[in-house]
């Protein structure tokens, strides 16, 4: 069992005026055996955060901690020597080398760094292919001969073959067809439970994230603006942005009466020049745009005091703290996923 955490993690691309802070002092914990879902719109920095945690992107600040110990940096990247964090990529067409057979790709993951024998590797390849419900005969094929769903299974098998403690899944179902998506989601849940993996599940699809995750982290312009147990956040979202995301999920159950949600929160701002104070204030349905007296949203960073709000919400007017009804869940429980 392994835990993964980010502490004040910052990733910047470019310099000066053209620069972009993709991840802005993010704190997040992936507890042992738990799954943290990360949702956000495109450009929110969720994929960059995932890549930074795997050591694929140089950090501009902060730490990645595995089992509580900071990971040493190599060329600015937090690269774990023991390969305890593995990622599954969005596009199974680009994440598998077209020139390498399925078997070799998995064998590479088994053998890299260790002196496993040829026979042990072949046996391992068979085992991992069976683990992801693929015919072991697939081992001899090139990725071009496989369907999208099969490729994604191979990518999962390859990640598992490195025997990671933490799995990071970055939009792993969004390039798959609907009928294949559910099979991959089922597989991921099954493997996580069987192998006791900790996991971060990144997706733009809130319904998918809710289905898979124990904790829900909502990312907006490089910051995690709300974080808590999934069911609690879904039932009692604090941040207006989380509520907008929840309202935007197309719901089959109530589709006929409801139609598309009436969301007029405008388009996302330019991430190169994030708005001052609360990044969400120009689109916020309870912010200064509708309530001009709420100047605090423009003037003060809502990060200040977030630890004291339920779900560690980056909002000066978080829902429950505003209303008279107490938060439905005890503080302790709410903070499990973000104990920093």
């Amino acid at each position: 069992m392994t835990t993964l955490a980010a502490s004040a993690l910052t990733v910047r691309f470019g310099h000066g005026d053209g620069g972009l802070t993709a991840v802005d002092r993010v704190d997040v914990d992936v507890p042992e055996g738990a799954t943290v879902g990360l949702v956000g719109e495109s450009g929110s920095g969720k994929s960059t955060l995932a890549r930074a945690l795997c050591g694929l992107v140089p950090l501009a600040g902060g730490e990645v901690l595995i089992d509580g110990a900071p990971v040493r940096r190599q060329h600015g990247r937090a690269v774990d020597r023991h390969r305890r964090v593995q990622m599954i990529f969005q596009d199974p067409f680009s994440s598998l080398n077209p020139r390498i057979t399925v078997g070799e790709a998995i064998a590479e993951a088994i053998g890299a760094g260790k002196g496993a024998s040829r026979r042990a590797r072949a046996e391992g390849v068979r085992r991992y292919l069976e683990l992801v419900h693929l015919d072991p005969a697939v081992a001899g094929r090139f990725p071009s001969r496989l369907s999208g769903g099969q490729r994604q299974r191979v990518a999962i098998a390859r990640a598992l073959a490195a025997r990671p403690g933490v799995l990071i899944a970055d939009e792993i179902t969004s390039s798959l067809d609907v009928s294949v998506q559910s099979a991959v989601l089922n597989l991921i849940r099954e493997l996580r439970d069987e192998l006791g993996l900790s996991m971060m599940f990144v997706s733009h699809n809130l319904a998918t994230v809710r289905y898979v995750s124990d904790y829900l982290a909502v990312m907006y312009l490089g910051r995690i603006v709300e974080l808590g147990p999934t069911e609690v956040v879904v039932a009692d979202a604090q941040h207006p942005y989380t509520r907008a995301l929840l309202a935007a999920v197309p719901r089959l159950e109530t589709a006929v009466e409801r139609g598309p949600a009436d969301l007029e929160i405008g388009d996302p701002p330019d991430p190169h020049h994030p708005p001052a104070g609360c990044h969400f204030h120009p689109r916020c349905p309870v912010g200064p745009v509708v309530a001009p007296e709420r100047q605090i949203c423009i003037e003060q960073d809502p990060r200040v005091g977030a630890e004291d709000r339920p779900h560690r919400t980056f909002c000066h007017f978080a829902a429950s703290s505003n209303s008279t009804t107490p938060a439905p869940v005890g503080e302790e429980q709410v903070h499990v996923g973000c104990d920093r």
Binding site: R189, L252, E253
Partner: protein, 630 residues
């Protein structure tokens, strides 16, 4: 080379160009090996009496100033000419490839500097650089090789730069790094095999080019010096007597041409094989200018129903036997919003494109009836049909950027529609464009009309495309995955807009999506497509509560929703959909269907009424709320 590329190479070599190139190349290689061995003596034999002669029986290509036979000399010179060209190409590659890899490997300022140097050197004329370097290094074979090697190095550098940056940014390399794969193995198994193919192709073409360039240098006297001789030198010698004995110059000239051509063509053949022949490639942008595919109007095709759209037995096929849309029928009433749901490859987009007359080149469409706004577009003349489709039909695509011309301002693009179809003046058209942008709730429309598509956000662009469709009051809007590329919050806005536009303008709409939930939010009636057929047609309430076709049921059940039970696995559909080439009888879903029987595998079920609100093509339909978990 790996298995996939060799299997692609064989068909490419069987084309006429492929055969010609490989025969030419093989001949050159054989000649280069055996030529000097067999004919060195013949080529060196002096026959002063027969000096500087034209073609004769003894000397088919004439003789040179010392009476040596040109034919033998051309054959013998093959080795030197090709060797020099190979060496020059190798030199160019060995300078250029590492140079081009530097920006990716090192990055930072050094990388930028190297990139600048490469860009600058690509701009220099090749032959000029070659002459310059050859003159510095010294006249002779060595100078010529150095000159040409340096001159072509920038092309290798540019290629290697592009390749290395694309491989370095690839997910599979990131995955291998994360797995801790050793550096040597990274290079050997992950990087080299993926850059080798294009480099090899360029290498082959470079040899051909070097052959030409070397001939040029030798011709200028900068190349091979006597007593050595290559084709270029022979050409230059022959040219001095061109008015007296033209055939003497002809031999080496033909050799140079054929030699260079063989290498270059072979390179092209390799490139074509690598790019992967087959597979139809078209972008949506291309489609707009395409002509109507050949259509077969059936008898009685003209008497149309009063609806907006009515098609019967619509089939779309491609040369080679693919039939991605198979005999489907659908109809749309005025003001109605219908949905087409299906997975990739189900034929939903091609169905819409067939209706909108936007099928890719080569596609063949047939229908026993096609009625669009009461007319059969197939029976209309070119201009009438354009007018009908242009004014009454609006198409919204998944990627708004591909539907907008990046070089035109928004106002201009929208205005063009009104100018062409409604004959408005420029000012009037601009005014209407601003008005329509406002109607799709684009704020500050006066300023937006002056902007270019890239200055707008994704949601804005999709609104602009919708506004473009609204320029001439359409009666039918076809929206093909209009929100798939957009964020959820923007998705809802676009869907709502689509509905408002349809309601206020009285336009009917067809919404195509892979997402059952999206379709159910907007549409009253839904067609479910699978493997090119409509397997079920039903109203939205029935879609949610009681689909009859097992595929529809599985599709609905397999999508996680905010209400899904988190403790239970999702329904999933095993196996995969048949390909559009598949012509097996029976229900296309039978192989994946838990209810399939022998009959399903034998006989295609017809689309028949199942309940008052639905029709299904299934021998064993579900009744009401059964457990649909597969």
């Amino acid at each position: 080379m790996s298995e996939p590329s060799t299997s692609r190479l064989r068909p490419a070599l069987r084309t006429p160009v492929g055969i010609a190139a490989s025969v030419g190349l093989a001949a050159i290689i054989v000649l280069a090996i055996v030529g000097p061995v067999l004919w060195s003596d013949d080529a060196a034999r002096l026959d002063i009496l027969a000096a500087s002669q034209g073609a004769s029986r003894a000397h088919p290509l004439g003789t040179d100033a010392l009476g040596r036979d040109i034919l033998y000399r051309v054959l013998v010179a093959t080795r030197l000419s090709v060797t020099l060209a190979l060496l020059a190409a190798c030199l160019g590659a060995s300078i250029g490839i590492p140079l081009g890899a530097i920006p990716t490997l090192v990055g930072g300022r050094v990388g930028k500097l190297v990139t600048g140097v490469i860009n600058l050197s690509v701009a220099f004329p090749t032959l000029l650089v070659a002459i310059f370097v050859a003159a510095i290094v010294g006249v002779g074979a060595r100078g010529a090789i150095a000159g040409i090697g340096f001159a072509i190095a920038p092309y290798f550098a540019r290629l290697s730069q592009t390749l290395s940056s694309s491989v370095a940014g690839s997910d599979y390399l990131a995955a291998a790094r994360m797995l801790g794969v050793r550096r040597t193995r990274l290079l050997r198994r992950h990087i080299l095999p993926n850059v080798a193919e294009p480099l090899l192709i360029t290498m082959t073409i470079a040899v051909g080019d070097s052959l030409l360039a070397l001939a040029g240098l030798s011709f200028l006297g900068l190349g091979v010096q006597a007593p050595q001789y290559d084709w270029g030198r022979m050409l230059s010698e022959g040219l001095s007597g061109i008015y007296v004995t033209p055939v003497v110059a002809l031999g080496p000239a033909v050799a140079i041409t054929l030699g260079a051509l063989s290498f270059v063509l072979f390179g092209e053949v390799l490139a074509k094989a690598a790019a992967g022949g087959g597979g139809l490639r078209w972008t949506r942008w291309d489609l707009r200018a395409l002509a109507l595919p050949p259509a077969v109007p059936a008898a009685g095709g003209a008497d149309a129903l009063p609806g907006v759209l009515s098609v019967e037995d619509l089939t779309v096929s491609f040369p080679g036997g693919a039939v991605p849309v198979r005999s489907i029928s659908l109809d749309v009433a005025p003001g109605e919003i219908v949905g087409i749901v299906g997975e990739s490859g189900s034929g939903k987009t091609l169905t819409a494109m067939a209706i909108a007359d936007l099928l890719p080149a080569g596609a063949r469409m047939t229908a026993s009836r096609l009625s669009l706004f009461g007319e059969d577009p197939r029976l209309l003349g070119e201009s009438q049909r354009r007018r009908l489709l242009g004014r009454s039909l609006a198409v919204v695509y998944q990627d708004p950027m591909s539907a907008l011309n990046p070089a035109l301002r928004i106002g201009r693009q929208l205005g063009e529609v009104a100018e062409v179809h409604d004959g408005l003046s420029k000012t009037q058209a601009r005014q209407r464009a601003t008005e329509r942008l406002r109607s799709v709730r684009i704020g500050n429309a006066d300023a937006r009309v002056r902007q270019y598509p890239h200055e707008l956000s994704g949601g804005m662009r999709q609104r602009a495309v919708l506004a473009m469709g609204l320029m001439s009051e359409p009666k039918l809007i076809i929206a093909d995955e209009p929100t798939t590329a957009l964020d959820v919050t923007v998705e809802q806005q676009i869907l709502r807009l689509l509905r408002d536009v349809s309601v206020s303008g009285g336009a009917a709409a067809i919404l195509i999506s892979h997402d059952v939930a999206v379709v159910s939010q907007l549409c009253s009636r839904v067609f479910v497509m699978y493997a090119g057929r409509i397997v079920e047609e039903l109203d939205v309430a029935t879609l949610i509560n009681g689909p009859a076709h097992p595929y529809t049921a599985a599709l609905v059940a397999s999508v996680p929703t905010m209400g899904s039970d988190r403790t239970r696995p999702l329904a999933s559909i095993p196996g995969r959909a048949p390909s559009p080439y598949d012509d097996a009888p029976g229900c296309p879903f039978a192989a994946r269907c838990p209810r399939a029987s022998e009959r399903c595998r034998r006989e295609m079920p017809p689309l028949e009424p199942h309940s008052p609100t639905q029709r299904a093509a299934c021998w064993h339909p579900l009744d009401g709320l059964e457990d649909v978990a597969v």
